[in-house]
């Protein structure tokens, strides 16, 4: 299973959660710490089965707080690590996500979103955590978040999540939802050697001179790990380039926090991905992500068949938010429709980027995402 | 208090109680007094001088009593005092 071969045998029929497991392993993940939670439990179970087979380690921690702490530890010991959870666990992980950001730890956090808030509807899909992924921890920072829309993307975007986390030394979230996590589709798994895997930059400084938080020109510091003789210190306190606490210096705070934000913001062009369908001459654009983008695509196709010049902008990267792409589309169309399975989250970002163009929000909560007919109806309404 | 023994140990000429030299890194001292208080041989006392922190570091009262137990080295929280074995070739 791990060695995908070219040809039929590399096509598998699997569940989204399991495709995520295979994607992680293909990307080099060899440590998973997690806690069972619907609908991400299958990721933990898959990892428990597969990691020992590939020489990795699975541990079920006592809670999600411990899980997040453990994956930071494993990453600092040089092993690519991941955890998977849903809303309630995501909330618990927030403090340590902040720790991962502050200590620039590459790691992947999968949130298979469900109905919230609180315990909510564990077996129903939702898109209610997308703002939390960006703002959930205290303090000012930036992370990267990807939104898979298919089982194939559960594989592909998990690989990409690892690559991005290693490149930018930042936790990367995979914001799936219960449907994408639990549905079964065909997945093409490329041969392992053809999958592009990125590893963290290694320090070029000698062990004595190594400063763990001294950035290169791309604002990302090379990362040494424990046991290699660097004997460095890392802390969640504001720190200098050597990692030593700097709790009194305004200059240290300014420099560090600004760089943590700039690291993502200034590199956003290299990070962002969107998918455009029939937008060149569109008069109304649908902006969607996750499972809702599937229904949106169907609605856009139906709209075109009915003579409406509709197009779809599918957000693959949710954070950093593709401001420029959305603004570009909004300038050309007369209206934007944003269907989401929440009470209005990404739509706020779209409104901000779309400026004067009208944005129509279509909310749906519960077990089903929007039907294509519902989105088509919304598209029709914009024509009036 | 010297240990009272019934007789002189047979290897008393060979095995000698070691002699220690006390080194004090004065500016590290925070004046907790543990070394002075807990030295079993009462080698140390508080000095009159003030260090950079404004406290009185210890000073050696009678180094001849030091038996290199190194308790001061172990109990100092600030790495401000340590003992080194004295070279007693020419007698101490």
């Amino acid at each position: 299973m791990d060695e995908g071969k070219v040809g039929l045998s590399s096509r598998r029929f699997m569940m989204g959660d399991i495709a995520c497991v295979e994607g992680a392993i293909a990307a080099g993940c060899r440590f998973f710490a997690g806690y069972p939670i619907t609908p991400a439990t299958e990721i933990a179970e898959g990892m428990a089965r597969r990691l020992p087979q590939v020489g990795g380690v699975y541990i079920q921690m006592e809670d999600e707080i411990g899980s997040m702490a453990a994956i930071i530890g494993a990453s600092y010991a040089g092993v690519k690590s991941m955890t998977a959870t849903s809303g309630p666990g995501f909330s618990l992980m927030m403090e340590n996500i902040g720790l991962a950001v502050m200590t620039e730890t590459p790691c992947v956090v999968v949130n298979v979103m469900r109905g919230g808030p609180s315990t909510g509807q564990p077996t129903m899909p939702g898109q209610q955590d997308v703002m939390q992924a960006r703002w959930g921890s205290h303090g000012d920072y930036e992370i990267i978040a990807l939104a898979p829309s298919s089982v194939q993307e559960m594989f592909d975007l998990t690989v990409e999540a690892f690559n991005l986390s290693e490149t930018y030394r930042v936790p990367v979230m995979v914001l799936a939802d219960e449907i994408v996590g639990h549905m079964w589709e065909r997945v093409k798994i490329p041969p392992t050697q053809s999958i592009e895997v990125v590893n963290r930059k290694k320090p070029t400084a000698s062990t004595k001179d190594y400063a763990p938080f001294k950035p290169d020109d791309d604002l990302v510091p090379p990362m040494g790990f424990f046991g290699e003789g660097y004997n460095f210190h890392a802390t969640g306190l504001t720190h200098d380039e050597r990692g030593h606490p700097q709790t009194e210096s305004a200059e240290a705070q300014q420099k560090l926090v600004q760089r943590l934000c700039d690291k993502i913001r200034k590199n956003s062009d290299k990070i962002l991905r969107v998918e455009k369908t029939t937008l060149e001459d569109a008069e109304v654009a649908v902006v969607a992500y996750g499972i809702v983008a599937r229904a949106s695509l169907s609605a856009v196709v139906k709209a075109r068949a009915a003579g409406i010049k509709a197009g779809l902008l599918r957000l693959v990267t949710l954070w950093p938010f593709p401001d420029k792409e959305v603004a570009k589309v909004a300038r050309k169309v007369k209206a934007v429709v944003v269907p989401e399975m929440n009470c209005g989250q990404i739509v706020r970002e779209v409104e901000r980027a779309a400026k004067e163009t009208s944005v129509f929000f279509l909310s749906k909560l519960g077990e089903e995402p929007h039907k294509p007919s519902e989105i088509l109806e919304a598209i029709r309404r914009t024509q009036k | 208090m010297p240990v009272r023994t019934w007789r002189k140990p047979l290897d008393a000429e060979k095995i000698k109680v070691p002699k220690g030299e006390v080194h004090i890194i004065k500016n590290r001292c925070k004046g907790c007094g543990f070394c002075i208080e807990f030295c079993p041989k009462e080698v140390l006392e508080e000095s009159e001088e003030l260090n950079e922190r404004g406290v009185h570091p210890p000073k050696v009262k009678d180094e001849s009593r030091c038996a290199l137990c190194s308790f001061c080295t172990a109990v100092c929280p600030d790495f401000a005092i340590f003992t080194v074995e004295k070279n007693c070739e020419g007698g101490c």
């Binding site: 087979q53 411990g66 494993a74 004997n231 | 080194h23 890194i25 543990f34």
Partner: protein
């Protein structure tokens, strides 16, 4: 005289001493005993990782000349678990405080002990939350005055060695900061032992707990330790109380039990040969 370097200088991070701890604080003694243990065992410092949580003792990881990490409050044991499992060659030591390990971090402690994770945990028990000014915590004695128990503490206290033993730790000891020799020996023993070791160090916080409870100086607190400590090796940890009149110290548990890492290794070999 002053040109000679302190014998433990190589264990300390250059330029970071003097540390931030108050005069008479036991944290420096714990660091000193730890340094001596590493010295006596001739440990490869490149393979030692010190993990600490939040608190005064939490700053210790910034002073050791090893790979080290200062986590969020209560999480050093969970972080250390990740480090150890990712690279079993590393010697991972958690040094943290009573509140960090047993209040907010209590859950991680009991499970790591239960799993017999290959970790050495040293707890600086000073009976209060020192860094934030002396609030009460899970080990504050009954009736003690702290800033959040201004009428006297009405909470019963944890018996940490009893807790550790009950959770399955393979080595459990308690010493006070005055018992420097025995503490160092215990640390050495723990560092060489497979599985989860726990050492409680009853440590003076003269500035806060001491001042609030009529022991204003380090010397007064250490004198209290001297007067009331009783060494009771392998006595029942459940009865190893800490009261104003008695502090029971000693080694309480020293058993052999397969560690998590050992069982993990066996399981991994089995998994490789099995069909998925």
């Amino acid at each position: 005289m002053e040109e000679l370097e302190h014998p433990y200088e190589k264990f300390l991070r250059r330029g970071r001493i003097p540390h931030i701890w108050c005069e008479g604080c036991g944290n420096g003694i714990i660091l000193s005993c730890f340094a001596q243990a590493l010295n006596d065992l001739n440990m490869d410092l490149d393979k030692v990782v010190v993990v600490s949580g939040i608190g005064c003792i939490g700053r210790v990881s910034g002073y050791t000349n090893t790979d080290s990490y200062h986590t969020t409050h209560g999480r050093p044991i969970a972080f250390a678990t990740g480090v150890k499992l990712a690279n079993p060659e590393l010697k991972v030591v958690v040094i943290s405080g009573d509140g960090d390990l047993f209040a907010i971090g209590g859950n991680h402690f009991i499970h790591a002990a239960r799993r017999n994770m290959d970790l050495q945990v040293i707890c600086a028990n000073n009976f209060v939350y020192g860094m934030t000014g002396g609030q009460h915590g899970p080990t504050t004695p009954l009736d003690a005055w702290t800033t959040t128990t201004p009428y006297g503490n009405i909470e019963h206290t944890f018996n940490l060695v009893h807790l550790a033993a009950a959770c399955g730790a393979v080595y459990v000891a308690r010493w006070t900061a005055l018992h420097v020799r025995r503490l160092t020996e215990s640390i050495k023993k723990a560092l060489q032992k497979e599985g989860f070791s726990f050492i409680e160090v009853v440590s003076p916080c003269p500035e806060l707990f001491g001042r609030y409870n009529r022991m204003e100086t380090g010397i007064k607190m250490m004198q209290w330790f001297k007067e009331v400590s009783e060494v009771r090796h392998f006595s029942d940890p459940a009865k190893a109380e800490i009261t104003p009149q008695k502090i029971v110290v000693g080694e309480f548990v020293d058993i052999e039990k397969p560690s998590y890492s050992r069982l993990l290794k066996e399981m991994a070999e089995k998994a490789k040969t099995q069909e998925q």
